[in-house]
Amino acid sequence: MDPLALFTLQVLNALSLSALLFFIALGLTLIFGIMRVVNFAHGAVFMLGAYCGVAAQTATGSFAASLLAAPLAGAALGLAFERSALSRLYAREHSAFLLVTFGLALALTEAIRLIWGADARQTELPAVLAGIVFVMDEPFPVYRLLLIGAGGLCWLLCWLGLQRTRLGLLLRAASQNPTMTAALGNDVGRVRAMVFALACALAALGGALAAPLLSASLGLGSNVIIDAFVIVMIGGMGSFIGTVAGSLLVGFAQTFGNFYVPELALGMTYALMITVLVLRPGGLFGRPE
């Protein structure tokens, strides 16, 4: 294979992986930035998205339906959980969140197994997305281009949302100083509920987008959550631009690492995280706590 074609292909591979990781990491960092909650259930929500997506597509025959159903299910779950459990705990220590989100992860995983069974579930992509394009004479899946586009679009919309809307302003304010924001007459409780629902919707959408690559299976949640943590830590907890950078860094490190040094692939992301956190304890774009 021509070296330039190889390189281009690998960059595209890395970008598509980064895009997928971005969906789950973005929600995690939002929740942390605004609510100071480390959400251990985020991987399980991602998995829920994959299952809901597959179920929706099986029922309606439309892939678009899966991209709609998954975030809706994620948002509904997030909202219900925030209102019924998290909202009672904001005055408490970090450890309370740990236990309650850990509990959600356990319960959700088992609920999914009860509903859909232990076997993996899958659907086929519509013909137009299952096709290929040629990049320097090498075939590349159309669907991965869609992933890159979806990741980019999500990044753009979130950035515009944060910078240009009143809600974005409120979010940034709540992330920097929740007491002050509340004192100014804003309903912090509502902001938190919305943020949690939005973050869960993003993770579930990521799951639905990942389903055509992976199929929906029970191991999905616990695998992906650690990668997402790594991204958020590398980028800096609560930093939007940091999450973008972290997703790209981890996506590229895994893609190129698996190619050139597969023997080290297992420990690579952790070594990367240790290096970043030792040099910059707050992450690349964050402030130290």
Binding site: L99, V100, L106, A107, P288, E289
Partner: protein
């Protein structure tokens, strides 16, 4: 009567040891494993409860201790009590550089750094096939230097647990332990008084890793088997849940939390395949209903009766 009276705790551990002579064999074995986990949770409480360093990588020292013990038992064939002590010390030694890097940070960053080191350990034992047995682990570890019989092993575990508890309790109530508390409550103030927070935290870190290494080594002797799963992050999550469930910062609480979670999981999973659902919901209820964990709940109950 305060539930955290050390004499009472030692009495309870002694009683647990005596149970080995009356319980049926399998129940003794179960209790032994539960008490090893209690020691593991106790070691984490020093970090989480007393230094407020929420480690999410405590599987690291636990598995490290277990593998060091496994190597000694397999290669050197030394008595188990000696292997346990050496493993604890080796874990304490490795804790110095790891801790030096970790304790500079706090909060979530500390949690994730400790996690990264544990996962790195997982990667190393997983890949280093020739020495660690890779994904298959090392099986058939001999249990030397102890008279046969599970009552004896239970007594040994109880002895180690009692010693570890005394050490932890002694540390927390010592002048150094009070400085740890001072650093935890107000770092600037403690610094102004001439204490180096990083060094103080490192001391707690090393002590905690020492005890976790001892617990892991005991586990290796107990199961006569080690595998990379011991390093996995789910183990870290588990022991952290034990500490929080029992009540962080009370030493006794986390031990009770370990027993409670271990037995709850064991019994639930025998009862239903959907034990995960039951346990998950239980966590949520406990967090909301009992803010200070089992220990707080127990204290309230005892206090009410005392009155």
């Amino acid at each position: 009567m305060k539930p955290a009276d050390p004499k009472l705790v030692l009495l309870a551990i002694a009683l647990a040891g005596a149970l080995g002579f009356v319980l049926p064999g399998h129940a003794t074995t179960l209790l032994t494993e539960a008490l090893i986990l209690a020691l593991f949770a106790l070691s984490l409480d020093l970090l989480v409860g007393h230094a407020r360093l929420t480690s999410f990588g405590h599987a690291g020292p636990w598995a490290f201790g277990a593998y060091i013990a496994a190597a000694q038992l397999l290669v050197l064939q030394i008595p188990l009590p000696l292997a346990v002590l050496v493993s604890g010390l080796a874990t304490a030694v490795i804790a110095i550089p790891v801790g030096w890097l970790c304790v500079r940070t706090g909060g979530v960053t500390f949690a994730m750094l400790s996690l990264a080191f544990a996962q790195l350990g997982f990667a190393v034992v997983f890949k280093w096939n020739a020495v660690t047995g890779g994904s298959d682990g090392l099986a058939g570890l001999p249990r030397l230097g102890l008279p046969a019989g599970r009552e004896v092993f239970l007594l040994f575990v109880c002895g180690v647990l009692a010693a570890a508890y005394l050490l932890a309790h002694g540390f927390v109530t010592s002048p150094l332990g009070r400085i740890v508390a001072a650093v935890r409550e107000n770092e600037q103030r403690a610094e102004a008084l001439g204490h180096d927070p990083r060094r103080i935290r490192l001391v707690v870190f090393v002590l905690s890793y020492f005890l976790a290494g001892v617990a892991g080594a005991l586990y290796a002797g107990f199961a006569q088997f080690v595998s990379p799963e011991l390093f996995f992050w789910t183990v870290s999550g588990h022991v952290l849940v034990m500490v929080v469930l029992g009540g962080a910062g009370t030493l006794v609480g986390p031990m009770l939390g370990a027993l409670a979670l271990f037995y709850a999981e064991h019994e639930l999973s025998a009862l239903t395949e959907s034990w995960g659902l039951a346990l998950g919901l239980l966590f949520m209820v406990v967090v909301i209903a009992a803010p200070t964990g089992l220990m707080g709940w127990l204290r309230a109950a005892v206090g009410a009766r005392g009155r």
